[in-house]
Structures are given as C-alpha cells and as structure tokens.
Symmetry: C2
Subunit: 432 residues, 2 copies
C-alpha cells in the first residue's frame, strides 16, 4: 500500500498526561499520525504501517503542543513593561493607550507580525486570543495567525462603557462592527476562527452583553472574557451590578456564561463557591494565569481546588499581564504559585505536581478545542519535538527528570519542530 | 601620554543604582576603567583620557555585573529536578545523595566543569558558593572557577551531626580537613578565596561551631550559612538548641554570626524581630533567595522590611533550591514575590520596584565584596554589555523600559560581553 504524506510517524521518547495524576512516558516509541490525528503510539511500528515515512528523533523528547487559553495579542509589544503596577492602574496607563494604537493598521501590521512570528516559534500549538476593539486590525491579526499554522480563536474586543475617551465604542458601533467582523472572518480561515470577546463586565453595558448573547446563538460562536481577577475589580463589578450575587452571575444573566456555547473565563482568583459551582454547571473553562496574577499582584487562584473539583481548566500566559509566551514557564509558574497557595493560604490544598500542571497545559486546556493535548488515539496530532542537549549533565537522567528540567529551564531554543493537526508549522533548522 | 590596556572605556547606555530608589540612566556615555576600577562615566570623553582604547557598543545597554550571594555548586547538576518536594525531604532524597558523589574526583571534575562554564557565560560577576564536605573536590572547584575570571568565595561544607550515613564527617575530621583546605587555598588564587561554610545549625555540633569561630579569627575568613529558611527547620533548631531564643542566636553563641568576619546568611524567611536586629548589629548580610523559597515551598522573605530597615542584603539563586543562574530572573522573582507578600501577608509592605530589586542584585549584594555593583567612581569595573535586539518592538523604548523588559525576558543570549574587575571574562562572539 502506498501511503500519502498525511500518514507518517515520529520516533522518540513520548511523554503525555491522559489524566492529571498520570504522566505516561514511552521510551523510543513511534507516534503515528493519520489525517492530522494520532492513530497510536507503538514500541515497534505495526505491520499495517509498513512503508510510511518515519522521522527518527533519537533520544529527543516528544510531547503534545501546549494550549494557551488566554492572551492579548496587542499587548505583546508591551510585555515585561509597566510591571510595577496593579491591574486597574496598569490598564489605564499602559494597556488602553497601547491598544488604541491599533486603529492604525500600519502599526497593527508591524506589531502583529512580530507577535505572530514569535507565537509560531513558541511552544504554543493552540490559543484563545484577544485583539482590540478594531474589527479591521483584528481581521489582519487573524490573517497573520493563519500563516503561522497554529490553531487559534481570535476575538475583536467589545467595550462600550467606562472606557477612556480615546479607546471605546458605542453599543451600536460595537455590535455592528462585531457583526461585520464575524461575517468577514467566519469560515474564512482554515485554522483561525472568531470568538466573541466582551472585555470584562465593568466596561460592557447590559445592552451590549444582551446583544452578544444573541450573536452567539445566531453565529454559533465561542466566547471569552475575564472573571474575578482582582479585589478592586470585584468591588467595582458589585457596585455596577448590585443585583448579581457574584461576578459570574452578571455574565450569566445576559446569557453569556456558557449557556449558548463554549466559554472561557480568565483568572478566577476570587471566585466564590457559587461562582465556581455555576462554572461547573455551565461547563465554563477557567484560564488559569499564574504569572499574570503575580505580576499584577492580583493573588493566587486556587488551582488545586479547581482541579480536584473537576472544573474544566487550562493555563493562560495572559500576555501581557504575563510576559512569557512559553508553555514551559506557564507550567512551572502554576506549580510555584500552587506551592505558595498551600504555604500561605490553605495547607489542605496540596501543591500541583509536575504531572498536574503539564496536564493543564496540554489536555486540560486542549479540551476547549476538542480532542487536543494528548497522544491518545484520535487526538489532534499537535506535537513538540524537544532538544535538551543544551542542558549538560554529568549523569544520565530518566525521561520524566528530563521533562521536569525543561519545564524549569527551557528557553525558546529547545524546540526542534512543532506540528499542529499533523502539519509541521515550525522547524528550527529550516528557520536558521 | 601612552595608556596601557588597563585603562579603557566602553561606550553605550549605562544603567545602575547608587541607592535602591535611584535608577540612573545615562544614554550614550563613556564608562572609563582604570586599573580594574570605574574612574567615571562621561557624556564626552575627558581630555585627560585622550588616546585610551574605546569600544563603542552603540545602542546597547551596559549595567553592573550581578552578584549572587548564595548557591551550591554541586547541586547545579540537579537543578530543576525533584522540585515537587519540601526542604528536608528534598535534602534527604536528592541533595545529600548528589553531594556524596563528589567524593569521586572524576565525577566532581565532570560536574564542576559544566557548572564553571555555565557560570562564566552567565550574568553573574561575583558569587558566594557552597561546595561539598570534600576538601579536594572543593579545591578542584576553586581551580575551575579561577579560570572563569569571576570573583567567588567558595566553601568546603562542614556537617558533623544528624547527617546521613553516607554523607557526613566527624568533628575532628571536619576541622582537620577544613584547615588543610584553607591552607591549600588561601592566597593561592587571584580571584577565588575560601569562606567558612557550616551547612546549617541542625547538622553542626556545638564543638564544630566553636572550632570554626577559632578558625575564622586565625585565618581572617568570611563565613556563610543558612538561616530561618523553613518552618520545620526552625522547629528542629529550637529542639536542638533550646537555650537559644532564636535561630541566629545559635550561631552567635558560638561566635559565627558576624562578630569575627564578614558573614552571609541565606534565606531569612522566618527571622524574628530579635534575629533581624542582631543581623543588623553584627552587619550580617542576608542572601534573599526568592525562587528557592517558592520552589521548596518555604514561604516569602519580607524583603521590603529588610530593605527599608537598612539590612545588608543581596540576592541569591540558591542553586538548586533555585534552578536559574540568571541574575535577571533573580530580580524578577524578587519583584514578583514581594508583590505576593504585599497581597497575601502584609499590605503595609509595598512591593519591590524594578529599581529596588536591581539594586539588590548589584550594589546590595556587591557590598559583601567591597565597592562592587555600581558605576560610581572607585567601584570595581564589573560590567555586562547587553544586546536586546532579539526582543523586536514596534515602537522605540526608553532605556529603563528596555532594562525592565530584559529583567523579565532575558535569556542567556542577551549577554555580549562580561567584565570582572576590568578584565573581559566572556565574549559571546569569541565563544561562537
């Protein structure tokens, strides 16, 4: 039988987490791809695959591509800047002025091209991404991301109240521009799709949120926003929406809290038990963004409780509340912050293990995109081939130790190749 | 006048912190070195320096080399491993077995060569370094470090009680080996000098500590150890030394808490007010190791209090409680942890600013080595020349923003050249 190029195998040391507590390591195995999906992992290539193309990566580690459930593309240009501020001050002094610049398509093109190029080279295979309020710049971002080969949900931001003079929209404008953007972008791309993106409750009017619920039903779209990130933000929401018992209920009252489509909420540092219960009931994903929550001095989200409570959850870089695009860094940050949560807030909540956090960065967040983030049969063939030879060691290390070391020490340079849905989207050697 | 090569200038954008709150930025200045020391920073090269060699680094940033007040060389091989454990468990399962291997000089040579090479390339210009209990391996480490050009205080570890069977020494053996090592290494090297290194109170007998105080006076040596890192450790110390009111008093009773020479104590997460007051009285340096304190789930040291209280303090990587040799990472970790301290422990203690933490990594820790860590006149010419062009930006950034971005995003690759006491010890281009 003659195989086409959609069927092939990568050979190396496979690591993946079918569940949080289970880190599977398969030394020197073949990972077979058929039609963009994993068809199996085998110590010896089965007879039925005789003749397929095999790339042997020797002693390299092979892991699922990471999923980033929350980032802001226009803030990439300011990552690592203004870090001496808290959320609301930082939004006003840094973020809104930067985002306003994307009205200028020339600036947007320059900045988004840098973002797309870096994302392509990064460990991220799939992402949920905020744009700005500008429909045209957001469409441009989608075009640039389509070229990277990664899969992404990208949203034009909606915000119509409590905005600065220079950065905001009227309710009508917000809706009409959103419709224009949806109709231009839906089914326009192979790998990029629109996601509704009310920024966060304090800058969205009741009217706007109600309209967005209608658009979600009409166009069958997912939705992303922010939730319970910061104490001052929570108090602000309470004063704006006194009829709601908790922050998430604001979204829920307008029908944009998971009842009409897949929904992801970033942060959930201060979610009340009722809010957590409603997220579970509605299947709302939590984008846990530990680095951002530290940088903006928001606090530490109770990731252990969410994981043990069966919440749907993945990790988010929150560029640029977080400064790092690295999925490795997101994993180590999640572990570190869970240790401090245990030490300083609740000694009943044991820290996340390597396996727990790796699961969140792969299969946990991957579920937002379907069967993604694992090497189980039928999962999308999203793969990172890793070279850790830059980390010299006097002794031989086992596979899990090598993965742990990369989680803490990996830079950009460790990624040899990246595949998304079976397509190679990045090759370090070809890029040199 | 003909100048010799000890007098030269580097030209670029200078950044340094003469005090914690003062981040000086001098665009396109000449930093002049005479005999290994900074003789000034000038917008135009003064007439008196006519004819000296000038290297123009264009738009690059030029900062003082970083000082790392606490790390364990033999643990470098296991950095980023075993991170799912707390201090005492981690010592027993990972650290002591690894350190025991350094009885084998062939293993030690292999591992220490990797450490020395990585340290040479790193952002660290000066460091306080723990070895193992082995005098010969520690001497070998000093030889390898001498070749790197960095300045370091290196210590043979002392531990004679509560040690595992396979890793420990008798009191007499500990002292005689320490004397042998001191006499072999003192004044043997240009840049490396011995420092007494009782590991920490629970593994040192009263007899050993008393003897070390004698050696400190006899040989005029500095001393390093650990202090108040972890809750369980603190309780252990209290049960072993019930007559001491606090942990530091154990060291002080035996005369090894700054009364006979420069002393640096790592961690100080749980130091009582009495302990803090005694450190100030004795001039004891605090090595603040935020990354390690998170990894081992120890807690967060009150760095803001120490800084405002006028304690002598610098940063430490604590390889391998910490996994990263990067001084940039130490700075960002210190800032991040101070934010969580403010948020979760004491809202009166405002977070460290970029300037505060940069000061700790340079002049704060540098004071342990004398006039080190600043570009003020008379300070050691310890310099990093940095290339941040790998961080593409759609807009032009000011110098402080560029520094902030490097603090959060720098990898190894940003260091073009490193000078220690006026000698170039690392050049990225020559190394390629």
């Amino acid at each position: 039988m003659k195989w086409n190029k959609d069927t092939f195998a990568l050979k190396g040391n496979l690591l993946y987490t079918p569940s949080p507590e289970k880190l599977v390591s398969l030394a020197s195995h073949y990972l077979v791809c058929e039609g963009g999906k994993v068809s199996g992992a085998f110590p010896v290539l089965p007879e039925r695959y005789k003749g397929i193309s095999v790339r042997d990566f020797g002693d390299s580690l092979i892991i699922p591509g990471f999923v980033d459930l929350h980032m802001h593309a226009p803030q990439y240009a300011m990552r690592g800047l203004g870090m001496d501020m808290e959320l609301l001050q930082w939004l006003e002094s840094f973020t809104f002025p930067e985002e306003a610049r994307y009205a200028d398509l020339l600036y947007a093109e320059k900045a988004y091209r840098i973002f797309a190029q870096d994302l392509k080279k990064s460990s991220i295979a799939r992402a949920c991404i905020f744009g700005t309020i500008h429909a045209d710049a957001t469409f441009l971002l989608m075009q640039l991301l389509e070229e990277t080969g990664i899969v992404a949900a990208v949203g034009k931001v909606n915000m119509d109240v409590n905005c600065p003079d220079y950065y905001g929209e009227s309710t009508m404008q917000s809706i009409s521009e959103t419709v224009r953007w949806i109709e231009a972008s839906q089914e326009r791309f192979q790998r990029i799709f629109p996601i509704l993106t009310p920024r966060f409750a304090p800058v969205c009017s009741s009217g706007l949120m109600g309209e967005l619920a209608g658009l979600q039903q009409k166009y069958c779209l997912p939705l992303q926003s922010h939730l319970s990130e910061n104490r001052a933000e929570g108090q602000w929401v309470q004063s704006l929406f006194p009829e709601s018992r908790f922050y998430g209920e604001v979204y829920d009252r307008f029908g944009i809290f998971g009842s009409h489509g897949p929904t992801v909420m970033a942060h959930c540092v201060y979610s009340s038990p009722d809010e957590v219960a409603l997220m579970k009931e509605r299947g709302v994903f939590i984008a846990h963004c530990p680095q951002s929550n530290v940088n903006l001095a928001s606090g530490i989200a109770p990731a252990r409780s969410y994981l043990d409570g069966g919440q749907r959850m993945g990790l988010g870089s929150d560029i640029s509340g977080g400064f790092s695009l690295s999925g490795f860094r997101a994993i180590s940050d999640a572990i570190q912050m869970s240790k401090l949560f245990w030490r300083l807030q609740d000694t009943d909540k044991k820290p996340l293990s390597l396996s727990d956090a790796f699961y969140l960065a792969t299969k946990g967040g991957g579920a937002f995109f379907g069967k993604v983030g694992s090497f189980e049969e039928g999962y999308a063939f999203d793969v990172l081939v890793l070279d850790d030879t830059f980390l010299a060691s006097p002794a031989r290390l086992d596979m899990v130790s090598r993965l742990e070391r990369l989680v803490y020490l990996a830079g950009q340079d460790c990624i040899c190749e990246k595949y998304v849905s079976g397509v190679k989207v990045w090759d370090a050697i070809e890029d040199r």
